[in-house]
Every structure is written in structure tokens, then in C-alpha cells.
């Protein structure tokens, strides 16, 4: 049907709109509305065709039901009447865009290279595929079509079938159920470990920047690694592993010992993610303050001796804050002037998030 053409054309236009406003979506968290598994809902403005029309709040309307003058109506009135039946009514569209598509747009906008998974032995994943049929199984998996097809065959073969009264009743032997096979698939696995400084100097705005940035980094990495895992570590003077929600909402005060987070991160990698099977991406976000030069030196040593050999790349993002000195970034730059695997990015404000994503992901590792 030609509707496919029109539908694709519509999706293209939506995609174009999203690209046009991409920067806005990246820097405003609320634009990436509700997330449902692999989809995000994105409000796209004014895809409607403009017309001369009355403002809905001006005209009012006629309704039916109970209620005294002055009572509120439930919900918004619908444009029920008076509209020609062949036109849509909304003027704000919520479009479902798959994360995959979003990653594509991100990739196109920033001209990101594809990631080459490390040439390590691929991990094998066992997947269940519902592809076969079996004569027994749970009722929930009953295959309606083949059950009836078998019953129909039986009716035809035994001469019971009447075209005028096509009633077919399957018996026990006719029933067929979906059954699964196990398929082994090689898969490149990846883990992202986010570390964030939550000491007093990281404010709401800084955390929001980290949140947005990590959303987009996840989206991009997910496109390349199907079984992407994420872990979250927060630290001030001590570090602990938390879930995603806590990661973005916690606010602590006190000193900062970056090495505490690196130690915990090392532990996690060593216990859960064997280097030969996993692509490992540690990300560390901080405002660049560390407690002592001693600790900074410890961090440098850990990066050199542990993180750089095991991970695809080690990323450090420094979020500008009024209170932070930004010293850690300078130390890193001095210590590792030409290190390929170490990616350092400075994020001055929301508007710079895109540039920073490009810094991190622009190397294709």
C-alpha cells in the first residue's frame, strides 16, 4: 500500500525535526520525555498544518452529563464535533523514537565513528528462540492457526466439513504449542562504569550535565553492544556502588578522595568483568578537586597500571563548577600527554555537552 510511502515520509520529517532541534534535546533533559525500554517519547512541535481556527479556550462547547454550573469537567474536552472527519486535531505530537534511531541521529550529527569492539574472544550468549511447534505445552503458548489448520485437515479428511456451516472444533490431538530452541550467539559485551564526585562542590546543575551526558553515551554504546551493562559509583572521601537513581540524586558534602572510587572500580572489574570477555569503559566525572597531591599521584598510578591496560578507553569529564579548582584535569594532562586511551574532556556548561560527547566517542573505541 502507498501508505507505507506516506508513513516513511512522515517519519523522515519527524527525524528531520529532531535533528533540527537536536541540540535542544541534548541539553534539556525534559525533552527526552518518558523512556520505555527501547523507546523514548519526544515531543515534536508543530507538525500540524496551520489553519484559521478559533482558540479552543475561547469557544467552549456543549457537553452531556451531570454537574452543576461551576463544576470542573474531567479531562480536556475533545474536539468532537464540527471538525471535518479527515483531519487530525493535536498540535503537539509525541513521537516514539527508538534508542537505536536516536543513536543514529547522534552519530550523524556529531559524525561519530563506529566503535570497533576489541578483538578479544567473543562471549557466547544462549538465547531462547520460539521457533518450533510441539504437541504439548502451556495453554498460553497455544498456536491458534496451526491448531485450527490441523483440525480443518482432520475435518476434511474425515468428510465432516460442511462449507455452509464451517464449524470446526479441535480435539486434543490437534493442539499445537509454540516451543523454543536454544541458540548460541557470540556477542561482544561491554560494561560502562560511571564514577561521580558527589562532594559538596558538585551542584544540581553539574549533576544534571552528568546525567544528560551519560544518557547519550549509553545510547551510543548500546547501539554497538547489545548487552550493555552499567554500574554506578559515587564518591566523596569514600566510595560506594549505588543504583542509577541514587547516582543522580545523591548529594553529599565533605572531602574528595578520587582514589577511593578508582579502587572500588578496580574491584568491580576484577570480580565481575574478565578483561578478555568484556569491553570496559570507565567514565569519571568530577569538578577536578582532589584532597591531596598524594592521592592524585595514587590515582595516576592506578590509571597507568590498571585502567589503561584493561579498558577500551578511560574517560575523564570535568564539569566546571564555581567551587572546584579543576586541578585534576591539569594533573592528568601533564602526566599523560600522549596517551591514546585516556580521553579528557572539559564541560563548561550545558551547551558544551555535545562537544564533550564528541570528545569521548569521537575516537571509535
Amino acid at each position: 500500500m502507498a501508505i507505507r510511502e506516506d508513513h516513511n515520509r512522515f517519519r523522515e520529517i519527524i527525524r528531520g525535526r529532531i535533528k533540527e532541534n537536536f541540540k535542544k534535546y541534548v541539553t534539556h533533559g525534559e525533552m527526552i520525555g518518558k523512556r520505555e525500554n527501547d523507546f523514548v517519547k519526544i515531543p515534536v512541535p508543530y507538525i500540524d498544518i496551520p489553519r484559521f481556527k478559533y482558540g479552543p479556550k475561547q469557544s467552549g462547547g456543549v457537553g452531556q452529563g451531570t454537574g452543576q454550573p461551576g463544576d470542573a469537567l474531567d479531562g480536556e474536552p475533545q474536539d468532537g464535533l464540527g471538525q471535518a472527519g479527515n483531519e487530525p486535531g493535536q498540535h503537539q505530537l509525541e513521537v516514539d523514537v527508538s534508542l537505536e534511531e536516536l543513536a543514529d541521529i547522534l552519530g550523524e550529527e556529531l559524525e561519530l565513528p563506529r566503535i570497533q569492539p576489541k578483538g578479544r574472544p567473543k562471549q557466547e550468549v544462549v538465547k531462547t528462540r520460539y521457533s518450533g511447534l510441539a504437541p504439548v505445552g502451556p495453554e498460553g503458548l497455544r498456536h491458534f492457526k496451526s491448531t485450527y489448520r490441523r483440525a480443518l485437515k482432520r475435518y476434511l479428511a474425515s468428510g465432516l466439513y460442511q462449507p455452509d456451516n464451517p464449524v470446526i472444533i479441535p480435539i486434543r490431538g490437534d493442539y499445537r504449542y509454540r516451543s523454543f530452541k536454544q541458540v548460541v550467539q557470540p556477542q561482544a559485551n561491554a560494561v560502562v562504569i560511571y564514577m561521580m564526585d558527589v562532594s559538596g562542590s558538585m551542584g544540581e546543575e553539574q549533576k544534571e550535565i552528568v546525567r544528560l551526558e551519560s544518557f547519550w553515551i549509553n545510547t551510543w554504546l548500546k547501539k554497538h553492544y547489545k548487552g550493555l551493562e552499567t554500574r554506578f559509583i559515587i564518591h566523596d572521601a569514600t566510595a560506594k556502588e549505588v543504583d542509577e537513581k541514587t547516582f543522580f540524586s545523591t548529594s553529599e558534602s565533605g572531602g574528595t578522595l578520587i582514589s577511593s572510587a578508582y579502587k572500588l572500580c578496580q574491584q568491580i572489574i576484577e570480580s565481575d568483568y574478565p578483561v578478555e570477555q568484556w569491553n570496559i569503559y570507565p567514565f569519571h566525572f568530577s569538578d577536578g578537586d582532589n584532597w591531596s597531591g598524594e592521592d592524585t599521584r595514587l590515582c595516576m598510578r592506578m590509571i597507568r597500571e590498571f585502567f589503561l591496560p584493561v579498558s577500551n578507553m578511560f574517560c575523564y569529564g570535568q564539569v566546571e563548577s564555581k567551587y572546584g579548582s579543576g586541578q585534576f584535569l591539569k594533573d592528568l594532562e601533564r602526566e599523560f600527554p600522549n596517551e591514546e586511551k585516556l580521553v579528557i574532556s572539559r564541560i563548561e556548561s550545558r551547551d558544551k555537552i555535545l562537544n564533550s560527547i564528541k570528545d569521548f566517542l569521537g575516537k571509535g573505541k
Binding site: D6, I49, G61, Q64, Q83
Partner: protein, 507 residues
């Protein structure tokens, strides 16, 4: 018949026979059994299998499929006003639903064929739509998809600027044409048989008067359009500097707008009529005992009232039933209107039995505006718990405003007139003698949504090529909006803004 199963075909024949026995008179109706996805496709195309390519149909389709997949809505029936009539049934619906839909469709079909407002519609619209699609595809091949699509977008934004009543107006009569000719010839003086009487019969003042009159006429004639023109789309098609293909695109979209217009003009009646008949046919003839509960469930689902919406099915069917009962019992005419005794009115039954005849007459002659105007009674509003709602700026919500009968009727009629859309007309194509277009909005107490208005005005300008002006009211102030292709200007007009009531009081 198309692809109905033997079971459905049997039901169809039976339903048609019953419908005809009641006097319904339908075009031949072809039912197609389609999957839900096909149904959504047809619905996105307004019931037609082929339309010109445009993303808006894709958007419609996406919305329909989504809301079907999420279980929010499901299209039960669709029927197209053509001869033969095409109707779609959704595969996998229960038999009782399919029967209900068929009975309902025959109701629509009878209405399409017999309601006079549908008389000028093109009953071969299937072919016309296919031709439109071919033409537009050809333009896209020749001039590029983006160029043509962009132009279609602009024209669609003016789609509603047609004169819905113009198809029903007879063109100029013979007499008017002759008079016009006479005017062109010169001053009309009184006939004089004797020359010496001329001075007295046509005195100089009279000649002067006639001359002035003539001048005025010709001035009037020089103005384009001579009379304000509501068919803005048609006006642009004839007078805007367009390429041939652009002119054709406008004519296509305008044709389709005129084709769909009567369906908007008779929404309440059409749905009411179809519901009246599906209910009658099903309950009196077709339903088996085991189906009655399912039927009642489906029927009451479509008839459900919602507090914030207005269900045309419900109001339509109730009004038809009300009319039938009133004419059966003779509850109309002078005697009825003048009777003040409630008890007498409640028991009023002259056993005239004119009800059936009356509703057939109503379905032939009325449209929603005249239907509501004539048959909506106070009794009816009370029985159906109707009210007017308004947006309360103070509380920021929609609230029940009043249950006063007169106001309900007024609000309804306002919504139905011109589909509840502002009436815009072309006033002058040479505004201020600069070749600018002047549009006026006939203000009826409700202002237009400003963002939409400005965007639409830009589209008018694109087609007209010269600057365009729109006289309307915003924020209680008469204003003139002018767009010259670069910027939107806004001037206050001197005129005092009057609501229609005030104007009526003065006039």
C-alpha cells in the same frame, strides 16, 4: 459480492432485505473484509484506497495504528460516499459486531443517497481520487517531491477556506444576465415616445442621477471581487499568479474539500440516522437470543456520553426518536405549542402515526444546522443532561457554564455553522490600490488562535505573492495583520469591536 464469508454474506442479504422493507433506499453496497492494518490505512486515506502522496496520511496512519495497538481505540466501521458504496468490515470481529456494522452502514448509505446536501457530491470519487493521485505524482516526478509537497502543505492550510453553500446556489438566472447587459449598454432612461416630452419625463436631475448610479456600478464592478468571496481557495486559484501545476494542485485539494464538506455538515444527522436504523434492524429482526448482550454492549459503547465531549451518535439517534414519537403522537403545531398544561402535554397523543414519514422527510431535507435549529427542544436538553462548558481563566480549567436551553442551542448552532470554523472572505484583491490582498474575518465573538492565524496568513501570502492583509479581532481590539513575505505587521483598526448581539441591538 466482494470477499465476504458465506456466513456474513447470508447475514448481509438478510439485513438488506429488512432495511429495504423499512423503506431505506441505498446505493449498491460492497463490503470488504479487511485486516486491522488495512483498516487503519483506509481510514488514514479517508476511506479511499488511493490518495495523492502526502506525509499527513502517514501521520494519521501512525496515530491510528498506535492507538489500536495500545488498545485505546478501534475502528468498527467505515463507509464511503460513492456509487456503489464501499464499506469495510474488520476481520476477526465478532459476528454480532459485523451484523451491527452492516446495518449501520446501510443507514449511512441511504443517507448519502437521499439527503439533499449530498446531491452535488461526486459519486465516482474513487476514480477522481485515483486521478488526483496520478496527477500529483506526475508533478512530483517533474518538479521534485519537496517542491510539490511544500506547495501542498501550503494549500492544505487553506483547505477549510471554501464556501460550503456554494454548490447549492444556482448560477445567475436569465433575467439577471439580461439586466447586466442593459447596464453595460448605457444609462437606463425612461422610454419616451414623443421627443418633446423627453425633458419632462427624463429631467436633467434624473439623467444626472442615472449617470451617477452607472458610475457607481462600474466602480463596484472594477473592484475584484465584486462581492466578498468566501471561496478563498477558489479565488486564489483563479487570480493568484500561479504556474499551471500549482493551479491544478489547488483545484485538486479544493475538489476534495468540497467532496468531504457535506459529511461535516450532516455529522449528527448521518450518525443518528445510521444508529437509529442499526438499532431498529438489529433488535427487531436480526439478533439471536445469544447475541443480545453483546449487541447491547457494543451499542451502548457507541452511544456513551462523556462529560466533556458531545457524542453526535447519541444526540442524533435521540433526536430522530424524539421526532418520531412527537409526530406519532401529534405533539407539534400550533395547538401543542400553545398548550401550557403539563399534565395534558404529558398525555398528549392524537394517534396520528406520522412519525416514520416525518423522519424520512427530515433525513431528506435537513442538515445539522437546520436539524438542531428546528428539532432540539428544551425537554430534550433536560432529558439528555446537556450543558454548555466554558474555559474559566481564573481557575484554569473547563467548567460547566450553564444548562439554559437557549444558550445550549446557541452554542451548538455556533459550533455547527461553518463547522465551527471562522468565516474568512476575500474583500479586495487590490487593497490600497497596491495589488495587495485583503481578507476579513467575520467576527462572531470568538477570536482566532493567534499562532495558527499568523502561520496560515504566511501561506496565503506565499500563494498570492504580493503582501496580504487580514482584518480580524485580537485581544478585544480590531486589528489588521499584514504580511509581506518578510515580516508580520500589526495595526490597530479604529472600528469599535461589536459582538453580534450588540450589532443586532443597534441594527
Amino acid at each position: 459480492m466482494a470477499n465476504l464469508t458465506p456466513e456474513l454474506e447470508r447475514a448481509r442479504v438478510k439485513i438488506l432485505k429488512v432495511a429495504e422493507s423499512y423503506g431505506l433506499d441505498c446505493f449498491e453496497t460492497i463490503f470488504e473484509l479487511v485486516t486491522y492494518d488495512q483498516m487503519n490505512q483506509f481510514a488514514a486515506y479517508g476511506g479511499f484506497p488511493v490518495r495523492y502522496p502526502h506525509w499527513r496520511f502517514g501521520m494519521e496512519y501512525e496515530q491510528l495504528s498506535k492507538s489500536y495497538e495500545y488498545g485505546l481505540s478501534k475502528i468498527y466501521e467505515m463507509v464511503v460516499n460513492t456509487d456503489p458504496c464501499y464499506a469495510y468490515l474488520m476481520e476477526g470481529n465478532r459476528l454480532v459486531d459485523q451484523k451491527l456494522v452492516m446495518a449501520h452502514v446501510y443507514g449511512h448509505c441511504d443517507f448519502f443517497k437521499n439527503n439533499q446536501w449530498f446531491a452535488p457530491t461526486n459519486r465516482k470519487m474513487m476514480d477522481a481520487m485515483a486521478n488526483h493521485a496520478t496527477r500529483i505524482r506526475r508533478y512530483m516526478d517533474r518538479y521534485g517531491i519537496d517542491v510539490v509537497e511544500d506547495f501542498i502543505d501550503k494549500v492544505l492550510s487553506l483547505e477549510n477556506l471554501i464556501d460550503r453553500y456554494s454548490p447549492y446556489i444556482k448560477k445567475k438566472t436569465e433575467k439577471e444576465r439580461r439586466e447586466e447587459e442593459a447596464r453595460e449598454k448605457g444609462i437606463s432612461l425612461l422610454k419616451v415616445n414623443r421627443d418633446y416630452m423627453d425633458e419632462y419625463i427624463n429631467p436633467p436631475e434624473f439623467v444626472e442621477y442615472q449617470k451617477q448610479k452607472l458610475e457607481e456600478e462600474s466602480r463596484k464592478k472594477a473592484k475584484i471581487p465584486a462581492q466578498p468571496e468566501r471561496d478563498v481557495l477558489g479565488f486564489l486559484m483563479h487570480f493568484a499568479p500561479l504556474k499551471n501545476w500549482q493551479q491544478d494542485v489547488i483545484s485538486i485539494i479544493r475538489d476534495e474539500a468540497y467532496y468531504f464538506a457535506p459529511q461535516g455538515m450532516t455529522k449528527i444527522m448521518n450518525e443518528g440516522w445510521a444508529s437509529y436504523w442499526h438499532s431498529k434492524i438489529m433488535t427487531e429482526h436480526i439478533l439471536t437470543d445469544s447475541e443480545i448482550i453483546d449487541f447491547a454492549d457494543a451499542h451502548s459503547g457507541t452511544m456513551a456520553m462523556s462529560p466533556n465531549g458531545f457524542n453526535p451518535y447519541k444526540v442524533g439517534i435521540e433526536l430522530f426518536r424524539d421526532i418520531e414519537e412527537r409526530w406519532n403522537k401529534g405533539q407539534f403545531g400550533k395547538e401543542w405549542n400553545e398548550c401550557d398544561d403539563i399534565r395534558e402535554k404529558a398525555n398528549w397523543d392524537k394517534k396520528l402515526g406520522l412519525g416514520r414519514e416525518k423522519i424520512f422527510e427530515v433525513r431528506r431535507n435537513y442538515n445539522d444546522v437546520t436539524f438542531i435549529d428546528e428539532f432540539l427542544t428544551e425537554d430534550f436538553c433536560v432529558r439528555n443532561k446537556m450543558f454548555v462548558y466554558k474555559f474559566n481563566k481564573r481557575t484554569g480549567r473547563y467548567e460547566v457554564d450553564t444548562r439554559d436551553f437557549k444558550l445550549i442551542k446557541k452554542q451548538l448552532l455556533f459550533q455547527l455553522t461553518n463547522f465551527g470554523q471562522p468565516i474568512i472572505q476575500v474583500e479586495d484583491a487590490n487593497f490600497e490600490n497596491r495589488g495587495e490582498l485583503l481578507l476579513t474575518h467575520l467576527y462572531e465573538g470568538v477570536e482566532m488562535q493567534p499562532d495558527y492565524m499568523k502561520e496560515t496568513l504566511k501561506n496565503v501570502q506565499y500563494i498570492w505573492a504580493r503582501p496580504v492583509n487580514l482584518a480580524t479581532v485580537q485581544d478585544g481590539q480590531a486589528k489588521l495583520f499584514r504580511y509581506d513575505g518578510r515580516e508580520m505587521q500589526e495595526y490597530n483598526l479604529q472600528d469599535q469591536v461589536k459582538t453580534p448581539e450588540e450589532a443586532a441591538q443597534e441594527g
